[in-house]
Symmetry: C4
């Protein structure tokens, strides 16, 4: 573990959580997971617990609406739900890109889950289709038959084999690595349109319906569309800026490679 | 050695092996080595000894036939063969891609060979042709004249110089690195079709014939085709999924680079 | 931190600096920051304090006008300004390219700022336009409203949100990472032409005007154009050579990949 | 320094060398340096001192004329020359490709130079032209005016500024890094044809003429062509094989990326 590459900053007193369920929703296919978790954080008024930055994240800063800069980061929130299982929520601007960073990040996250004695991990993602689905189906897979039985319903299908290839990134690795720590883990994947700028809100709604029911969150489903509209523009702005980083880098590399021996002075 | 990147999990009590021969067959050209070793593991009913995962392997999980997830991994099996040399068998889903990981992995494997006092390493691979060979020839090379003399026969040619370029990956490195540990090592390379999805079963059969004879494995050659049919679909499924990972990553990178400033909301 | 990759060599006795302001200007978009800081170093006759080389910089040497070789490097200079805040100035041939190196370098630089008890960081850069601007505008952003208030004037606009995407590289990271060390940091970004060989002298002049006024540097603005002409050819030569490195590398890689089996002997 | 990535094996008792001059000639532009140093090693009957392998070298083995495998490696030889300065000679199959490995390797080499109290380093290389030169000119540059004065003659020009861009790789870095250890270092660069498969024998001869004269090696210049013919085919074979590695890797990556969902069974 390249520990010096990862900075975890604590933002509130460590809470005592009751049997917390950990839910991950980072940028990914159709941003389905991100949209769902960002909604949960807002709607449940969850408290920020950790801010994670990494030398493996983009080496750039965003300019926010206040014209101030922000490092790209990932955040962990928590929500105490009286009489029910508490929640740990993982959202953020980015997820690690390369293999090693993705494994390291996932292990760090599972360290946090274990620190709070979490026994259940839920990861959220999208299944990229070539067209925008009208009524997105939700599939699940997990690291044990037990957790799949627990969440199986008419809202979610477990016949994922053959539907998707492998699950790439943190949403997948958390499942695989959790089983070694005897943590049950399940992933909900909603059909969505596979474009990186697409916000898979319909897919996120289907997933939120499942979480709402299974975790007894008492979310007002009617508020979903309005709330999502509020966070939409911010997500798009950041996604745009991040896309801009990679585009600029690619352009600069291309220019360097072609690099005409022309000098421009002006 | 970046030790934290490699996880070796032990799956059975450490056996006392008699003069074990180590045989490697990981995915590679025509998957010849993988098909041969997977057959040996099945047919000999070998016992799982180690499961190796790595932060350098793809950062994704497979969905298996039970709709459960699996990390990409490599496995070491053993088989005790009364009155003969015992076997250590290395098979798996992947092999390291980059230079450093490939060297590190090969050294880790040789550590295992030495732990069991193994004095002989056999690696299996393919020689990629542009057409499907009708009767694949098998070539060998090694790290000493002695081991080549031992395995030379009318079934295998040692005139490899000029036939292939260098032997890339674990099948090659194990030979080169073994010589520093005074471990004799030989590689059997069967002609095959050089497509990454191709399963070089004919080539694998020719190699199995050689191993069967030289190691006295008493394999029923007539069962070969049937047995291989049984594992065929599983291998293809995983190869497909892995290919899917790299394809998805490439696509996502491409999309990011082109990344039109268009927003899709739906 | 991969400390062995970074070499910091001290070039003068450590000065006692009075409340120093740190100003960064490394190669980047339009080389605006580099032109401005190189001018400050020359015009103020600043003293060299540190020379920084890195294993992450290009693995090549320049040939200078004396036909002697020079490693690519980054330099820190200082200037004592009686009765005013002293200056620390960061200039150089290169800046780190990949994510990890860029974060590590920025942290190393902030270590230096803190060593001299610096409380303010200014980074300089360009905003790449598709055409050469006649009268380049200067924008600023920072890590606190306080420092932006301090430097805001009719010469500089803070309405950066939406004007640029993220600020990539050391100029951006220094702002983001400084806020964790309670160091106020601001970036001045001048419009310029977005070509890697372009020297954004007009943009640099606009930035220098702001620094001259705010830091009370008493620079003779009329000398600007002449002075810049003197350093121009050296900057262009190095930029050309660096561009040559990446071009040669790209070419060699391409040739290797295509690598016809043709031998040329002569 | 990632020490575990580098293996230095000693092949003879450590000699006591008299004021040794270190000469480097690794594969590079036109393979000029490699051809020259390989000739010196053969002709002077130099003794092998070290064999260096690295996890950063290609992860593959060559098949040699004896049909045995060889890891890609770099070798240091020495030659005692009674009454004159002794020689340390660096030749090999490869040189590190990426920035960090190239710096690390160069530092390791300078450690060896210092171990034998060497005070002078000579690196050999090519200047790639677009056509095959009839009478290649030799240029030099170095890390001090003193060493350039020492070697300057009518055979070699020091007007390199503007003729080449930066000197990329070990031949360049050794000069830059040596100056920090107070080791005088010079590079002789002969014009050659810039194709990776080209063997710049004419350029190597011009450089050998300079070394022969300056170091008093008493080489029979008339034997040069014959001797070089002897090592020619071996160099070409290895260069071909290495080129084959990178070609195969590129092809496999390309195939994976395109990776049709077609299965080939045969």
């Amino acid at each position: 573990m390249r520990d010096s590459y990862w900075k975890v900053m604590q933002f509130s007193k460590l809470p005592k959580l009751n049997n917390p369920v950990f839910i991950e929703g980072l940028p990914g296919i159709g941003n389905v997971g991100k949209v769902a978790v960002d909604f949960l954080i807002d709607e449940l008024n969850a408290k920020k617990l950790y801010e994670i930055t990494s030398y493996t994240f983009p080496h750039s800063v965003f300019v926010n609406e206040d014209n101030l800069v922000e490092l790209p980061l990932v955040e962990v929130f928590y929500k105490e739900l009286k009489g029910k299982k508490d929640l740990l929520l993982l959202g953020g601007d980015v997820q690690p890109v390369d293999e090693i960073s993705s494994y390291e990040f996932s292990e760090k996250i599972l360290d946090i889950v274990q620190k709070f004695n979490g026994k259940e991990v839920i990861t959220l993602g999208g299944i990229g289709l070539t067209d925008i689905p009208k009524k997105p189906k939700v599939y699940c897979t997990g690291n044990s038959k037990k957790i799949i039985q627990k969440y199986k319903s008419d809202l979610v299908s477990n016949n994922l084999y053959g539907v998707v290839g492998p699950i790439v990134g943190v949403s997948g690795l958390l499942l695989g690595l959790a089983s070694r720590r005897n943590i049950e883990a399940i992933s909900f994947l909603a059909e969505t349109y596979g474009h990186p700028m697409y916000l898979g809100i319909k897919g996120a709604k289907e997933i939120l319906r499942i979480l709402n029911k299974n975790l007894g969150l008492n979310l007002d489903i009617n508020k979903l569309d309005k709330e999502i509209k509020d966070i939409e523009s911010e997500i798009i702005k950041k996604t745009e800026q991040l896309s801009e980083v990679t585009k600029q880098l690619a352009l600069r590399r291309l220019q360097k490679r072609l690099g005409k021996d022309v000098d421009y002075i002006g």
